[in-house]
Symmetry: C2
DNA sequence: ACCGCTTTGTGCACGAGTTCACAAAGGGGT
DNA sequence: ACCCCTTTGTGAACTCGTGCACAAAGCGGT
């Protein structure tokens, strides 16, 4: 749903990682950790020092058992009879997610959506920094958005190298997306967030996550129809 | 990912639907159908009349077996030795997804993101029509975006009733999201697309899908870290 | 009318993810 | 020091989704 959901990652890679101190965290769990993290942060802001799995699970919209199993995959950071220390858990999840490092992000395509993304506060949070905005349209080049000057997409390779960009955000029309993606990948970007309505083709080592509005709407439409058929059928 | 992916839908509802002529389509399959549909449309535009499961699967980024199984869940619409008729399959998937009906959409929150959503072409396609834009800020009320006048959120209930809105899009700040959601639900909206970074609480019969940028970024960060640890560990 | 080639539809086995239920573990009061 | 209450961490059963492999089914050429 998210856009749900939906990542690149092909192989369940059973390769023996360097020395895997932990049994490798499942994809489903990784997708939920950011939710827990957000909820924990709101708890911390409210001055709450400790939470039980049940409280946390309720706030995150999952079952308590699932939550405990998820957390157990990253270590034994709870106290039996008490719960989890909020601050400590925030730190541990941040560490596992890699948010203690910093990531440079480039946004390609400054249309309506790219504009909104550039101004999105979520980037500012822990670890992510938008280092450049890029567009193919010369008319937009030079414009300043959210404190960044829009640069021409010819400079894309240079920008990626210069800032050691690791995450590329594609907010172009669908027709340009694969080309932009190829260029990002060819100069070393290994993670892509794709907003264009196309299926991107990338080598195995590159992760792609897609956010697709019209897919989400169509999934909702399916359930809407299902519901209206159900009530009509019951009459 | 999707935005992951991530829907409301709680119970796997084993209730005997009205007369369920088909065995009910799995959630995972439903999430892929829109992708198939899009690919099929590009094929149709290229004048291609027939596709094999392998061609379609490649273009959609899935395995051929999975694709065939997905399609088999909605009927036997292929010809052995030949493949699938593009136009017919487009029609069948559209029908199953409920895109032959029309859905009225209201967008709540006209900030950067709401602005972009209002102008998004994806809404115009088959079945979805944005009937109103709503914001709580009086300064924005009256402004015209994409041919629609922004109205004050006090009028939300009236608008929903008047236009028989079935899908609500929440593009407000997180602090307002739950309140807006409650109001939408209380006047009959049964599908919500949530862009606010909060976990919405809704009754079981309401479907929520969330699109969360910062979650997607954090998932990418996890894999980035994993990759950099792997290469560092191999040295 | 038959034969061989291609491609679908699906039974089956496997693996991933979820849920249940409970033993182990810690805290606090007496 | 002991006991009771709460809550974690996890083994085990189960459900769901995926991928393989192959039989059934068309089509076209002879």
């Amino acid at each position: 749903m998210s856009v749900a959901v939906s990542g690149g990652h092909s192989a369940p890679d059973g390769l023996p990682r360097h020395s895997a101190r932990r049994a490798a965290i499942s994809e489903a769990t990784v997708a939920r950790l950011p939710v827990y993290l957000r909820v924990l942060n709101t708890f911390a802001d409210s001055g709450i020092a400790t939470v039980s799995s049940e409280q946390l699970a309720n706030a995150a919209g999952v079952g308590p058992a699932k939550l405990r199993k998820d957390l157990s995959h990253l270590g034994s950071y709870g106290t039996r009879g008490v719960g989890y220390d909020v601050e400590y858990l925030v730190y541990q999840i941040s560490r596992v997610l890699g948010l203690t490092q910093h990531y440079s992000v480039v946004i390609v395509g400054v249309g309506n959506l790219g504009h909104a993304l550039a101004g999105y506060a979520g980037f500012g949070t822990r670890g992510f920094r938008v280092v450049a905005l890029v567009d193919a349209d010369p008319a937009r080049v030079g414009e300043t958005i959210a404190g960044l000057e829009v640069r021409h997409s010819d400079e894309l390779e240079m920008i990626v190298k210069e800032h050691e960009v690791s995450i590329g955000v594609i907010a172009t029309p669908g027709s340009a997306a694969q080309d932009v993606c190829d260029r990002l990948v060819s100069c070393g970007v290994t993670s892509v967030l794709n907003f264009a309505p196309v299926v991107l083709n990338v080598p195995d080592e590159v992760d792609v996550r897609k956010v697709d509005l019209s897919i989400e709407l169509q999934i909702l439409a399916f359930h809407e129809q299902r519901k209206s058929l159900a009530t009509r059928g019951a009459s």
